[in-house]
């Protein structure tokens, strides 16, 4: 069910999802069975007169409460861990760590507008505000294995920057600057969705996340923005605009 996880740390979120889903499935099934048992055993035709007290065996059902409490605690622990990893640590701190570890990273700015993402690249020198900055619409190209730091701002209304494959989502708020970071670990072409109602064409607010091999990324960067990207390992069929089911 879950889309393929391409980011280094997506497994943190996946772990919480799997834990919670399986937990509630088990608890749900157990309680359903108990209920069906009760309903079957104490039906009118078989048990015409009510007992004066609940059979003591059934009173033990209260253990479900304790199960729930324990399950909640585990869930809280795991989920807080994932949350902490992604959002609680300030981006500057993460950046410093990354630099100390000597890992490579790229920075991009993403501006949400009705109904597309403008992605600002710092260009070859990797610094914003210089001559070789450039902007691309709906196209976020990042190198494989780099840490990607995304600054999110909005041009008009609320949006939400959602990369299902990277298990990443954060709202894009006018008048504020929000941050994201992730580490793509698999080359390919993925989709960026908007997860906050932003107007009539909300369902069309689709961007592309393209993860390239490092040298390919460099090659692309040299000629950007004047070059389209088409590498064999991207299933680079051109984007069709689909409406009403048929492909135009």
């Amino acid at each position: 069910m879950l889309p393929q996880d391409i980011s280094q740390h997506g497994y943190l979120v996946d772990r919480v999802i799997k834990l919670s889903i399986w937990g509630i499935v088990v608890v749900g099934i157990v309680s359903f069975f108990i209920m069906f048992y009760i309903l079957y055993k104490f039906r009118r035709t078989k048990n015409p007169f009510p007992l004066s007290d609940v059979p003591s065996g059934l009173k033990k059902v209260i253990f479900i409460d304790y199960v729930m409490i324990i399950f909640d605690l585990i869930l809280l622990f795991m989920s807080t861990w994932a949350w902490f990893f992604f959002f609680v640590r300030p981006v500057e701190k993460i950046k410093k760590e990354v630099q100390e570890k000597g890992e490579k990273f790229v920075e991009v700015r993403v501006i949400g507008r009705q109904f597309f993402w403008t992605v600002e690249y710092p260009g070859r020198d990797g610094v914003f505000g210089t001559q070789d900055d450039f902007k691309l619409g709906n196209l976020l190209v990042v190198p494989e294995g780099y840490n990607v730091f995304v600054k999110l701002t909005s041009g008009d209304v609320l949006h939400s920057f959602f990369i299902p494959n990277a298990r990443i989502k954060y709202d894009v708020i006018p008048g504020r600057e929000t941050h994201l970071w992730f580490k793509p670990a698999k080359v390919g072409k993925y989709e960026i969705a908007c997860a906050e109602l932003c107007g009539a064409m909300h369902y069309r607010m689709k961007g592309y996340l393209v993860v390239l091999k490092e040298q390919d990324y460099k090659m692309w960067l040299d000629s950007a923005p004047f070059s389209e990207i088409s590498f064999d390992y991207l299933d680079d069929d051109k984007i069709k605009f689909v409406k009403g089911g048929e492909v135009r």
Partner: protein, 359 residues
């Protein structure tokens, strides 16, 4: 008695708030105050061309048929009828220069409905927020869109409503008089964007998508129907670009000509502000006029090294200097000759690099 009172109160609230709304709310759209409609623009264009023809015809004896053909051509006709009349006109008066003028009246192109429909979807998806619901960059506040060094700019108005002659002026794609832009040039801009402005490059759009998008954009202004634009040619830059002597020659040339508006950049002067040749309009779409005369939107001459060039490739810079920037006071400098222009290009690139280094 009591419920009459209640009814009074409720209906008071229910009616009061909408009334208060209609009274106090700031009008967001005042379409009545926009200058031209689609038909008006077309009629204006036809009248302009026909007046040119009449000038040529002065003195020569003209048959009455010619006169009433011209009269007919003044109102917006369908494609076949219009083109028939134009042919008839040309056949009547064998005069090449008049023919060259009257050929402006031939309807060469008409929007293809299906493409326009798709184009409209794409437009609403990607362009509407800056270029306006109607494609006229209307009600988009000047604070809304800013260049990188932060002065407000307007997105391109595709309807020509705000232009004196109803033209759609593309600064870099049109010719200097803002006549028409070729699809190729527009495609380049859509795919590559304009650096330093909010216009990003939509590299991922496929050709048929861009075509239908252009189809929609062109369907917004009638003058496209008569258009016969030629794509600009971008020469290959010389190999010794950015060589010392080129830069030196370029600097000398710059100091003699361009300094008038762009000022002496290396000594850190600020460029002049120059009027744009189309109306300035406020947030509500009202045209701001001082004592009746149209006022102009001022823009700065490019501040080299301060913010990225709108289109940074050398051949683009070359074309810009050669053809000028439509609608602004940057006139074409064809007469300088290609070599000199290349000198200027290399000087500008040099300055840009210096600016980049200084940051």
């Amino acid at each position: 008695m009591r419920w009459f009172l209640f009814g009074l109160i409720i209906s008071g609230i229910a009616i009061g708030v909408p009334i208060a709304y209609s009274k106090f709310s700031k009008p967001k759209y005042i379409l009545s105050s926009l200058p031209y409609s689609y038909q008006e623009i077309e009629r204006k264009y036809r009248e302009e061309v026909i007046s040119q023809i009449n000038e040529k015809l002065e003195g020569k004896g003209v048959s009455s048929e010619v006169k009433d053909i011209l009269e007919k051509l003044k109102n917006n006709l369908g494609r076949e009828e219009n083109n028939k009349l134009v042919e008839r006109l040309n056949s009547l008066l064998q005069d090449d220069e008049i023919k060259s003028i009257s050929s402006k009246l031939v309807i060469r192109w008409e929007p293809d409905e299906r493409k326009v429909k798709i184009g409209k979807e794409i437009f609403e998806n990607l362009c509407m927020t800056c270029h306006g619901r109607a494609g006229d960059s209307f009600n988009i506040t000047p604070e809304g869109l800013k260049t990188d060094i932060g002065y407000p700019i307007y997105a391109r108005d595709f309807t020509g409503k705000y232009h004196r002659e109803g033209k759609v002026v593309f600064k870099f794609a049109s010719d200097y008089f803002g006549e028409f832009a070729s699809d190729e040039d527009l495609k380049k801009i859509i795919k590559e964007g304009l650096a330093g402005t909010p216009m990003p490059g939509f590299t991922y759009l496929s050709d048929e998508e861009i075509n239908s998008l252009l189809e929609y954009i062109k369907s917004l202004n009638p003058r496209w129907k008569f258009a016969s634009p030629q794509p600009k040619n971008y020469p290959v830059p010389p190999t010794d670009l950015l060589s010392e002597e080129r830069i030196e020659r370029g600097r000398r040339q710059f100091m003699t000509v361009c300094i008038a508006c762009h000022r002496n950049i290396e000594s850190g002067e600020e460029p002049l502000e120059q009027p744009l040749a189309w109306y300035k309009f406020d947030k509500k779409g009202n045209i701001i006029t001082q004592d009746g005369s149209p006022s102009f939107q001022m823009i700065k001459a490019r501040w080299f090294g301060k913010e990225p060039l709108r289109r940074g490739k050398p051949e683009y810079i070359f074309a810009t200097i050669r053809d000028g920037i439509a609608g602004t006071t940057m006139t074409p400098w064809r007469h300088l000759g290609d070599e000199t222009i290349w000198d200027l290009v290399s000087y500008i690139l040099y300055i840009e690099k210096k600016g980049a280094a200084s940051k």
